[in-house]
Amino acid sequence: MIGEVILEALWKGIAVLLFLTAGFAYLTLFERRVLARFQVRLGPNRAGPFGLFQPVADAFKLIFKEELIPSYADKVLFVLAPIITVIPSLIVLAVVPFGGPINLFGKMVNSYVADVNVGILYISAVTSISVYGITLAGWSSNNKYATMGGLRSTAQMISYEIAMGFCFIVPVLLAGSMSLVDIVQHQNETMWYIFMQPGAAVILFITMLAEVNRAPFDMPEAEQELTAGYHSEYSGMKFALFFMAEYIKVIAVSVIFVTLFLGGYHFPFVDQIPVIGPYMGPVVMLAKTMVMLFIIVWIRSTLPRIRYDRLMAFGWKILFPLALLSVLVTAVVVLLV
């Protein structure tokens, strides 16, 4: 019995990992193609139909690149940093349900790796770890630009995590549970939380962008000022790991946002489609995630970068009080209704 449980968790874990790594590869292509459309360009379209083999080509290139370690770098930390960054982003989706229970070869299977009863705490704990990787990368490279990038990201992530944490509390209050499975169920029974608490949803979206260092908050790697920020000195696969961590985190936060505020794998009437209805959960999830990813790319193509001091002020003086307020309002309403 216990062996069966472990086996099930194992194959589901591998499935999520494969989804994320493949998703990372094709998110880079998606971003480049969409960005190109915004910018009256074509984007990569040479490798395979619609450039579908471009990520493969990129991966091969990065694997065969020389791995450089600067002679004055702290070698242990320098190698460790990308690993510390990438692992949290890979494991964060373990608690997210991708669909309802599915009948798979005559056996009912839940579409999540684990239903942890403190799911939201797990997410905020795991996402916080990756900041260590970035800070250590900046520090161990022994490069001034990288150090500044590392310091910026530390300050940025810490200050935005608080507002993000408060936004996590809102769905918890509304659902009365910390488990993401319960939160999605509750949204299915009532309505999407984005309609109940749009303010918190907007704040969460903004803090998410800051948390994963996406434009307009891509301060740590600000190409125009800090050349490449914390990963200036990285090359080859070690650079690819940072790149991978960033994009996987983008997917992860989109999935988390969809789960917390956009009804997760549910969409009206989709469940009632005959035969395939129960299996549509992951498809709905994917579609909603794609919409989120598109919005993130859209923002990147449009907005200039916000300045570092404004970013901190914005995080502490505007987002933090607003998030606090939305928690308060939600709590009062939940208590009264």
């Binding site: 910018q39 000022e225 990147r300 193509s301 449009t302 907005l303 300045r307 570092y308």
Partner: protein, 409 residues
Amino acid sequence: MTDIREVTVDELKHLVSERAAQGETMLLNMGPQHPSTHGVLRLLLELDGEIVVSCIPDIGFLHTGVEKNMEAKNYQQAEVMTDRLDYLHPIGNNLVYCMAVEKLCDLDVPPRAQAIRVILAELTRLGSHLIWLGTSALDLAAMSVFLYTMREREKILDIFELVSGQRMMTTYLRPGGLWRDVPVEFEEAVYKFIDHMPSQVDEYQDLLDQNELFIDRTKGVSVIKSEEAVRWGITGPVLRAGGMAYDLRKALPYSTYEQYDFDIPTRTEGDIYARYAVRVDEMRESLKIIRQALNKLPLGPVRSNNRKYVPPPRSELGVSMEALIHHFKLWTEGFTPPVGSVYAAVESPRGELGVFMESDGSAKPYRVHYRTPTFANLQIMPLLTRGYFVADVVAAIGSIDIVLGDADR
């Protein structure tokens, strides 16, 4: 004179504060290979955290020796090198060089040539401003604007290709007029461009003008007022953004600019946003000038008839002995202007671009010196950045619109 003296570190210590020596502040070497220094500018920044304590611009990485090289070429050959100075403003460089030679030789320029010069010079200004708008928006990470402006600049380059066969380094303007008349398609192509362009400028403004993040990055940052700017010898949009309406096209009209009706856009704030606004308005004014010039484009010759300086038309070579002699003399030894020295200046997209030319009566210039706007404008970098953030340094570089080929001749 012959010894190369090495500068020691001790001699440079006065450039940074005492705190740098004690390790309290960080010295950051920005450039010459840096994505945002617009070429090969090097800045030595002294940083207190993210705040700039001092900024030392270091130029010379693109030094090509053009000025010295000109002394070894005759007047016709030297003009080709002017394209390579300010590579975003090639026709303006030709223009100022030709104006200096014309002044030296007392050459006349036919009205049709003058009008075409104005059209092409304004198109070049537009092209340069487009590059500036794109790259300085890119410096603030508003990346799409860059590709939109490059799209429109491509159309300008197509027009240059139409008239001269070259896209950038045209050398189309020649002392005494133009290389040859424009093709018949020219007017239609330019009309098409200027009809289309205003909506494009609107598009850029839609993306930037009301953009809260853009305003936040540019308003009140890197302020320099006109009074201060004049003391530093600043010209061009940087000066006009500080409130002074000084534009050589109005102040010292050349090439029949006095015939055209246009305004000098100014702002009073003197910050990065004001410089942006001035340049965008200038793009609209340039379109106005081009339209006026096209509407009353005179017919007639495009080269002076002074055979001592301007080669005769090819049709005369077979029938006129004198024309053949002139042609031979011009292409073997070049022309010899009278002894003397002149200064001619035009308003380049970056400010006053002047040429000082001295002739010793031979076929080669004795000395050609360029007064370039980038060289003068770069001086204020320390002023513009002191006390601001590292991110503002990048914005400030973009806002004074430097072209390193212009600074290092």
